[in-house]
């Protein structure tokens, strides 16, 4: 069977750097799955994302070994622009993503590239501005808005394209907690409609309830790759790699350490509250 994304024995080294940014990566991602990628700074998360979007090796120079295939075709073999119409990517630095001088142009640009019709563009623009609360900013330049608003524009521009595969590199790092939640609700809807979603995040609270599967990258290698529930039972490994779990989970981990609790660590506040009630 052909997987949506298939990465085999893949390594990448940026030109003029002493060591490989990614080493011997093996990864298969199925259509419709929701994958979280976490890891410390410099672990290679962004590099992996660029590799799946074809920006590496297309836009960067370096040494590649192994294979990265999307729908069974190697990324290099796609004509320029084609792969990216299928795989959308939200950058971690929103300003690096801007291509236009007004928010509206910014949001429409990708849809035009996809060849969408006018009514469709209008409808999606409406949807996405509603969702990210950008309506009152449409005529502003994307540079003259607040940090979080910039990030919403970057996110909205890619959401509007609704690509089959969506890769989000720290998409909510500058959003306020409620907006952050809202973004994850949208991602959940996308997941339900069989889009494949890959999220890179440092803050795990919202990611955990949605992700089917989590991958821990450390020093350019996959250190752990498991179904979400299983993944977090290895909390000692995560802590060792400098990952900070959400408060409720850490609370139960501390209890485990003190021999006050035995069993699975809860993934969400709901689960944690239920456990406390059960224990009481």
């Amino acid at each position: 069977m052909v997987h949506l994304i298939e990465i085999e024995n893949y390594s990448w080294q940026y030109l003029n750097t002493p060591q490989e940014a990614l080493k011997n990566i093996n990864l298969k991602i199925e259509q419709g799955s929701f994958v979280g990628i976490i890891g410390p700074n410099g672990a290679g998360k962004t590099t992996l994302a660029y590799s799946m979007d074809g920006l590496i090796p297309g836009q960067y120079r370096g040494l590649k070994h192994g294979v990265v295939k999307i729908r069974g075709i190697e990324v290099e073999e796609y004509p320029r622009g084609r792969l990216q119409q299928m795989v959308g990517m939200v950058f971690s630095d929103p300003e690096a993503q801007f291509t236009a001088m007004t928010v509206e142009d910014e949001l429409v640009f990708g849809m035009e590239n996809l060849g969408m019709s006018l009514p469709e563009i209008r409808e999606r623009l409406e949807w996405v501005t509603e969702l990210t609360e950008l309506k009152h900013l449409l005529l502003k330049p994307p540079y003259e808005i607040s940090g979080g608003q910039k990030q919403r524009v970057a996110l909205a521009a890619v959401l509007a394209m609704t690509p089959e595969v969506l890769i989000l590199d720290e998409p909510t790092s500058m959003l306020d907690p409620v907006s952050r939640k809202r973004v994850f609700e949208v991602l959940q809807k996308l997941k339900q409609s069989q889009n494949t979603v890959i999220v890179i995040e440092h803050s795990l609270e919202n990611l955990i309830p949605l992700a089917d599967r989590m991958i821990l990258l450390a020093d350019g290698e996959i250190a752990l790759d498991a179904e979400t529930g299983e993944f977090f039972q290895r909390l000692d490994l995560l802590l060792e790699k400098g990952i900070s779990p959400p408060g409720a989970m850490r609370f139960f981990y501390e209890l485990t350490q003190k021999n006050l609790y035995h069993g699975r660590l809860p993934l969400t506040v709901d689960e944690a509250a239920a456990l406390l009630r059960g224990a009481a």
Binding site: N41, G147, D176, P177, H202, P246, G247, F251, E254, L255
Partner: protein
């Protein structure tokens, strides 16, 4: 709340951007010696704008910002930045020199210190933020995210402002880096006499480090008080798109079991849990 004279007094501050956006409405705020404050609030609520007003980058459209005895309207930017330092939301926005040394030395040179003292200040600032000497000749852009953030803070520190505002210090940093940066800000606050203001959306960080919280919404201050007090006002927080940290949410959920709804950290939750169960075990 406080009997001493404030370090900064903001009264009826309004600010409008050149395109007419009215970003701040009637802000009144006092900041005192020794404080560690967090500015929180939804996106676009005016936190960054307020900070830029505090260090004189933006002059009030109306109202006053008074730092010690200086009114920002009539003071030069040089006088202001020696008292109030602002570290930008995106550190890349403030790194523009060709190597880290020049980057940190830029401020002291600007205020016309002799080269002797410049050297002293750069070395001190680099040491405080933990930037090893081997990076001095490196170009800031090629450093890792964590180090870039440190260089950015060091470049402000070298001006030795009393008050340091750091705009989203932990955004994009992993947990270890975040704690290192925050511990370092805490050290500046406790041992070096700096007033610290952080702007952040990371509520666990606020809960763990800030002693006072200023919550903003739509260009106004909605709440201002001790951290635990502000986090108890769940409705008000929701209004400005905020929510307390997950551990506080959990404590509030199981409040009826005897947990304190003002719990801020995992450690205190664990302590309460132990106390509760000890009392249950031996009634």
């Amino acid at each position: 709340m406080n009997t001493q004279t404030p370090f900064i007094r903001v009264s009826n501050l309004n600010y409008q951007y050149p395109d007419g956006t009215h970003a701040l409405w009637d802000i009144n705020l006092e900041i005192y010696e020794g404080e560690f404050i967090a500015f929180i609030g939804q996106n676009g609520s005016g936190k960054t704008t307020l900070s830029k007003c505090l260090n004189g980058l933006f002059k009030p459209t109306s109202g006053d910002v008074i730092v010690e005895d200086l009114n920002s309207k009539t003071s030069s930017i040089v006088q202001m930045v020696r008292r109030v330092g602002y570290v930008f939301q995106n550190p890349d926005h403030q790194l523009f020199n060709n190597n880290c040394w020049d980057e940190i030395a830029y401020g002291p040179r600007n205020i016309q210190l002799p080269e002797e003292q410049v050297k002293e200040r750069v070395e001190e600032a680099a040491q405080v933020v933990g930037l090893p000497e081997r990076y001095f000749s490196e170009h800031p852009f090629f450093l890792s995210k964590g180090l870039r953030q440190r260089v950015a803070i060091a470049s402000i520190l070298a001006l030795r402002p009393k008050l340091i505002i750091v705009d989203e210090p932990t955004t994009g940093q992993d947990a270890r880096q975040s704690f290192e940066i925050m511990d370092f800000l805490k050290d500046l606050n406790e041992n070096h006499g700096h007033i610290i203001v952080i702007i952040t959306h990371d509520m666990p960080i606020v809960a763990a480090y800030a002693r006072r919280v200023v919550a903003m919404g739509q260009g106004r201050i909605l709440a201002d008080g001790p951290t635990a007090e502000v986090f108890k006002q769940t409705e008000l927080l929701a209004q400005t798109f905020l929510e307390p940290p997950q551990i506080t949410q959990l404590a509030q959920r199981v409040q009826d079991l005897g947990y304190d709804p003002g719990t801020l950290t995992v450690e205190s939750m664990v302590a309460q849990h132990i106390a509760l169960h000890a009392s249950q075990d031996n009634p």
